[in-house]
Structure formats: C-alpha cells, structure tokens
Symmetry: C3
Subunit: 365 residues, 3 copies
C-alpha cells in the first residue's frame, strides 16, 4: 500500500486552504483544532483517539524526529520545543504543495497571511475573497445603494483568483434559482446595518456578483463545525442556483461535501460549470480516507475533481491533507490498474488532472 511513485512526485495546487497559527498550541487548543468541535469534552475523551489524531502520531511525529506513533504528550512537547515557524515550514515543505489558494477570511489576526504561508512553504499564494466577510467589512460605512456599488467594484477589481461563499453556515444551500433584483438587494441591505450577515437575499446576491465578476465561486458544502445544520448543506439544494448560473460559464466549486460527496459528483457531472473536491474530509478521515475518496470519484468526470486540504491553523493539516490525498489517489489508481480498468498513461493523466491541471484551468493560474 505504498504510494505510486508518479503520485508521490506530483506537485499540488491546494485550491482551498487557510493560514496557520502564529503561535504554539497547548494540548486543549491543539486537540480542538484537529476536529470540527469547539472543544474537547470530558464526556467523550481525547481527540487524539480519532482518525486524525492517530494520523498525527503516525505521520507527523517522524517529521519532528520522533518515532512513529509517539504519544500525544511526547508529540506536543517536542512540537512546542521548536519554533512554530520551523514546525510550519517542515510540514508545509513536506506537503509538496506549490500553489496555495488561501481563504484568509476566518480569524485573520491569529494566522499567517497568504504571502507568509507561501514563503514558509516555498510556493506561491493567491487570495480567495470570502464574500460574507467582504460584505460585513464594507457595510458599516456606506449606505445600501453605495454598498451594492462598492461590493461590485471591489469584486471587479479584486486581485483574488476566486471567491468563497459560506452560505452553508448562514442560510443553508437552498439558494433560489433567480437573481435578486438590485432594489430587493438594497432593501435587504438596509434592513441589515452591521454585524453577522445572515440575510438570504444579500448572500445570494453576493454569489451572483462573484460570478458576474468572473470569479470562480467556492461553496462550503457538508461537514463543518457545529454552526451548520448538516441537512441544509446537501449540495443538491444548490440545484436551482446551479441551473440558473450554468450559462454564465464561470466555475462553481463544491468544497468538502462529505457525507454528500456522491451528490457533489452528480452535480459536477451534469452541470458544465460545477467542480468538487473532498477537502476537509481527507485529513479528517485519516487512514480511512481512501475509501471515501474512491466514492467521491464514482461518477464525477476526472476533469471535474480537485485537490484541497482545507488546512486551518495547524500546519500538520497541510501535510496530512496532501499525504492522505496522495495515498487515496494512489490507491484509486493502483486499484484501477490492477483490475485493468485503465492503463498507465491514463492513470498519469487522471493524476495530473486532479493534482493540479483542473485547478490551473478553473482558476486560470
């Protein structure tokens, strides 16, 4: 079950990730950042007793010169004896990611910027603009009609290579299949003067504006933290929106998707502008990632699937996301080669598409 050499050597584009922490983490913080829970619960025991927790001990420990399967305490002691920038550099370099598409919209004060991240990782970074954060930042200082124009011009002149919507966390994915009229948007903006944006008209409008600006549009889908209602994050709820936006010809990217990864594959197959990944669920599943990765590839054309780590805060998650992605891709291809489903040339092409070529094409990198 080693990794096929040509997969091990692939350079990766991580089309959805975040910064890493500027500081060390004590055990409670480290554990809570491994998973999507707010904190470890005394009712349920240590998060090191989880798929991702075991993956840290197995795969990350050796990069810090510890034996495989070092204990959690040994691991954190060693980690905190090093400079955090050195730890981050180690894991980022080991990931083999050469291009980072960074959503810097969540907790920017605690995290390295995209440029700092790329510097440590020896790669290049591009920004993904988080639509709701952009709106929340601009709203307090302008009138509703100014707001509409301002968002529009910011997106039109943005240096970002894509946009991201967290509609899943705010209103669910049941966006309507019609574009909100400007007057309707202004009324909704007027009713929201500041603070957390939860208005469905404004959130829907932001998504349309991103596409109008030609920005590939990412949606958080499925698995995430306890802020979301998972049944509202089924990607097939986006169907009316996807049907309405297909003619624009601007890519829409469904992130994570677990446990709706089969639904995402369906959407990526039937809509010309839709793409998907497994994001967060790759490192989150640890040694079981390969099975779900194979499921995610059941019906999606291989030109429609991308790599992302969704790494956040802990640099280990870059390394685990990339390494477990390589293992899963390698397992998928090795299984296909073994059963004579395709030949070596095909396997190489599939690997290149998913590792970076699809992302290059979608984001015009």
């Amino acid at each position: 079950m080693g990794i096929l050499p040509f997969v091990a050597e692939l350079g990766l584009i991580d089309h959805h990730c975040h910064g890493v922490l500027r500081t060390d983490s004590a055990r409670p913080e480290f554990e809570s950042l491994l998973l999507e829970a707010d904190a470890v619960s005394p009712l349920g025991g240590s998060f090191f007793d989880s798929a991702v927790g075991f993956a840290v001990r197995r795969w990350c420990a050796p990069l810090l010169d510890l034996p495989r399967h070092a204990s959690a305490d040994e691991y954190l002691e060693r980690r905190n004896s090093l400079h955090i920038a050195e730890v981050s550099r180690t894991f980022l370099m080991a990931s083999g990611i050469h291009t980072f598409l960074v959503d810097g919209g969540f907790q920017p004060d605690r995290l390295l910027s995209a440029a700092e991240l790329a510097g440590l990782g020896g790669g290049v970074a591009h920004e993904i603009v988080r639509l709701e954060v952009l709106a929340e930042t601009l709203r307090p200082s302008v009138s509703p009609s100014e707001f509409v124009d301002l968002v529009r011009s910011r997106l039109a002149s943005s240096s970002a290579v894509g946009a991201k919507s967290v509609a899943a966390y705010r209103i669910g994915l049941g966006l309507p299949g019609v574009r909100p009229a400007d007057a309707e948007v202004e009324r909704a903006v007027a009713a929201w003067s500041s603070g957390r944006l939860e208005d469905p008209v404004v959130i829907t409008w932001l998504a349309w504006e991103a596409l109008d600006a030609g920005l590939p549009l990412q949606f958080h889908v499925g698995y995430g933290d306890s802020d979301l209602d998972l049944h509202q994050c089924d990607p097939s709820l986006l169907t009316p929106f996807l049907r309405a936006t297909a003619a624009l010809g601007v890519p829409v990217l469904l992130l994570h998707n677990y446990p709706f990864h089969r639904q995402a594959g369906y959407l990526a197959q039937v809509f010309p502008h839709v793409f998907c990944d497994l994001g967060l669920a790759t490192h989150g599943l640890g040694h079981q990632a390969s099975r779900v990765f194979a499921e995610a590839l059941e019906i999606v054309p291989y030109g429609k699937f991308l790599f992302s780590s969704d790494a956040f805060a802990l640099p280990e998650l870059y390394y685990l996301g990339a390494m477990l992605f390589r293992r899963a891709l390698s397992d998928f291809l090795a299984d296909g080669l073994r059963s004579d489903a395709f030949v070596e040339d095909d396997a190489h092409r599939i690997a290149r598409l998913i590792a970076s070529e699809n992302a290059s094409r979608v984001y015009k990198l």
Copy 2:
C-alpha cells in the same frame, strides 16, 4: 476477479431499458450520451476521462476487434466504419439479455422500437408505458372528464407489462399518501390543457391508475440528468404513497436509486410490494460498480432486487450494464462464499432471483 461461471452464464431480464439510436454518433454526441450531462463542457474536459468512458475503451473496444484500451478516437473511428445495426447487434448479443422491458417514451423518433431492439438482440421485448407521455399524448384531443376515462381505459387495456412514472423529474417524489378524488383530478386536468405535464395531482393520479390497472409501477429515483433536483428524488419521500398503496398488492419498482440505494433497500425490505435496482448506476460507475452494488444489497431481501441496464441510445450501455452487473453480482457472491456467509446452492439461488426470477414474478412474464 473473474466472473463466477454460473453468473457469466445467467440469462438476464432487463426490466428497465430504452431503445438505441438508429444512426452513428460523432464524438460530441457519443460523449454526452455516456453520461447524464447535456453536453461536454470545455471547462471540464472529455467524458472519456470518466468511469464509463474508461469502461467503453476497456470492455467495448475488443468487441469491435480493437485492442483493450483503444483510444477514444480509434474507438469511434472503428465504430463509425461499421453499420450501426451491426454495432448494436454485437453489443446486444454480448449482453446476454433475453428479455427487454422497454420504456419507449423518451425520444422515440431517434430510437429503435422495442420490437426492433429485441430483433437485434435475439430476445423478446415487452413494453413499459410511460405515464406522463401517455397523458401528454391524450390530453389535447379530449375534455377533462373524457381524459380521465380515456387514460383509465387505455391502462386497463394496455399490452404493456408495467408502467413508469417520471414524477422525480416533474414534481419530485413527495407524492401524497391519499388518492386524488376524480373531481380534483378533473379540475387539475382542466387547468392543464396541453404540453409538459407538471401538475402534482395529475401525476399522482396516474400512478394510482396504473396500480389499479394491475400494472407494476416503476419510479425513476435518484441519479438522472440535470432536469431533476436530487434531494427531491430520495425514494424515502415516497413513503406515504407506498404506505397507502401496499394493500393493493401491485409491485412498485424503484429504479437506479443512487446515491439513495440504501434508502431504497430499506423501503424494499419494509413494504411488501416494493422492489429496487441499481439501474443506471451500474454502467455509470464502471470499475467501481461492485462496491455500490454490494451496498445496495445490504438490507434488501434478495427476492426484492432486480437487474436493469437503463441503457439509452448507445448499445454499448446494454453490454456494459449487463457485464458490470455480472461482475458486481459475482464479486458479491464470491465474497460471501469466501467468508462462508452462505454456500454454493444459496449463491446460485440468489443469482437466479436477481438476474431474472424476481422480474418474472413481478411482471408475470
């Protein structure tokens, strides 16, 4: 991973399929017919880079005297150098299907009829009447009350062995658990004078009428083209309808079901008149079909699961549907034999049930 000999030799009843094209296909049409997308997208690359695309190159090429894994262009060049009837005959004969239950209601002008199909395939064909098409055909020439009587008499005197509802594409599967009254139906029919039927009362009523006429009733469920909203096609949305119709004792057949095949298995287990298959998802998953097939058989009694190809337009899909079904069934049975879950006699009986005996019993063939 060969196919068990007794599975390879099974004669199949394909309880849900369509005609094949009368004409050759150029590459864009061929690619789009491999999947459920309307067309290949320049954003996403060739559909030959998909599970079903690789399956065509691997499994269909040798039947046209090409090497395994011939390129897409080689394959299409060779295919179009032959007469389409010869191509169709080759794949139909190789499928080992001896009985075709044909839904001829979609694009009949482009496709061979059921009788022509059976002729090429060396088998027999029976018709499945597509309820919404029947209604759309009859509606323009009659009054609402005549319409009700006419549909009823047509179904009562139909030579079809079953009926099919595409409620999934028109209104979703949340049919009510009560039978629409005739007066309500007439009002709904009056409000719909012609064209595409999308009225929930009429569509629900058609389903009841089919059962009243003693016709086993197929529902499209799950995975299909971009006309449907996948979350509206979860078969468990049919629960009120299934509960209300159980006492009629007429079979209801859930087609495809992916990615809700586990839900379909549940319904087939708990409702005496419900059956299911994996249809379209068999050829659609290519070399990964066996895993999903095993999932589909988790809780369904083996007397409740059927084979279908859902082949449409391309004769390759008959062959791939049948061959991948045999592989998946063989893998399922071989795994059970290897783990001593059942013995050889049991495996033979399960195989016969699923390949043809369940269909014979359900459709009284």
Copy 3:
C-alpha cells in the same frame, strides 16, 4: 478474517436492547422478526434469503448443534424442539454481553422482563424508560397540570439509567431548538386525552425533561419499521435540539443511524454531549456489517461510539449483534494495524472504549 483474540474476549455492555419472546415462533413469525417488515410478502419470497437470514443459518445453527448453513426448516424444527428458555440462554450466554440496558416499552406482555433477561444471560440489567410509553400510561388518569408534575417526578425518581425517545416514529427528528414552556405543554396535553402520543410539543418536552432529570437520552434514528418516514429520521434534523441542549451536559445517544451513520458521526464529533452506535444495522447487515461499521467510525472520536444489539424478541439477534459487532470491530482494528495507522496498545484502548468503557462513562454504570 478471524476475530482478534482481544476483541473476542471483550465483555460487552449492550446499551440498547429489548426483551426476548416467552414462546416459540412458527416460521412466519420468525421470518418477520428477522427484519423490520410486518410480514413476509408472497411477492418477495422468504426473508431467510437476506443478509440476516443467512447469518442465522451460518452462525446460529451450530449453537443448536446443527451444521453450519442448516436449512431454514431444519433450523426452526431443531429450535422448536428445545425449550425456548434454553434457546434464549444459549444465545445470550454466547453473546458475551455482561450488562443489558433494556428498553421494555414495546410489547412487554410478549417478552421477558429485563431481570429475566439478565438472569438467562448471566449478566446484570438496567432499565431504560421509554418516554412516550410513560406519558401514554400516565395521561388517562390525571389532569394536564398534574400530568406535567407527575412525569417530572417519575423521571426524577426513576431507577432507570437512561431514557429513550421514539420521536422518529411519531413526529420525525426535527425537534425545535427551544424548550416548550409549561403552559404550552399543558395546552398540548389537554388536547391529547389518551391513546398514541403524536403531539410534537409533548414529545419535545419529554426529551427536555429527561435531560433535566439527568437521564442520558437515546433517540431512535434512521432504519426501523414501516411506521417511520426515513427522511424524517436523519439525525442532522436534531441539530437545533442538540445545539440547545449541549450546555446541560447530559449525554444524548443516537441509535442505529443507518443509512445516516456518517451524519451521526459528524454530530458526535461536533457536539460534546452526543454519542452514537450502529445498533440494528449490525445484525441487519449480516456478513456486510464490517464495511458499514468502518464507515460509522470515519469521523467519530472513538470515545463517542458505543455497542448495542437492538435485539428484540429473537435471542439469536443478541448473539448475531454481538458476534457481528466483534467481527466488524476486529476487521476495523486489524485493518488499522495492518496499515500501521495505530499500534497494538491503541487498538486495545479503542476496543475497550467502544465495547464497554464509553457506555460505563455515559450511563455512570
């Protein structure tokens, strides 16, 4: 594919089970009790032709001194030639369950009590109080306001170690995220004078009262009999309720969950008080249980997953539930050890957590 020795020797706490029948069963009753269907259907054939049916013939026959894979008729003839108490003792003792948490609220007249069950099984039993049954029992004899006080005092003084809600069967799992006020509850109780409780306010209130009384609260989730609408039993519908009750710090346990076991794992990960199991789906899947068990463990922390059999009426289901659970757990751990995901000590700890330690902690046994 044997069972790892340390897994074979684990003592189990079955945190959700029922009594077994006091009497023999003729074949129709036996078959219908194997699955969740009301009865065998002549349309669909014998339920012995199902995963659980084959498991009975393979695994239970030898415990009655029959050869593996004895026929259904041989099995039932032998079974009915023995005293039912002897049959029950045999399967209960072979299960290796030392502690039974018994929901005695369904069909108590036909079944052994918790104490009788524990006596036959050589273990100890604790009661789980079924909330809707408690309410239905108390309602006829008291006024609405007395009812509220009476339920409250009964729960406060209950000897049960937990409570169970069958909201899934009555109203679905979309409980609101706010606690019903006493006045609202009294109005709802007044509108319900007796009979089957289907009022959402009362059912929601019962759940809150159980948590107030400090009773760990079980919810039936997913797969069950034809009374439920499966899409209303997705555990993620409970999210608002779980969010609202997290601060109480009393465990909530999601039972069965199939086919929503991944959703359940997500909830158990992100909410500190949520736990889950695979219950009914373990014996229901027979030789395919290991795959689904591995899926259920994808993202759930191992301190959050429990064993249960959901055995009801047939003592075979205790044995099959426990044995198939051991196989699945063993397969999961052996796979992890083989791929070096964790080491022997870790595997032992995971096994102990899931087999009994999580249940001990949750129910304070």
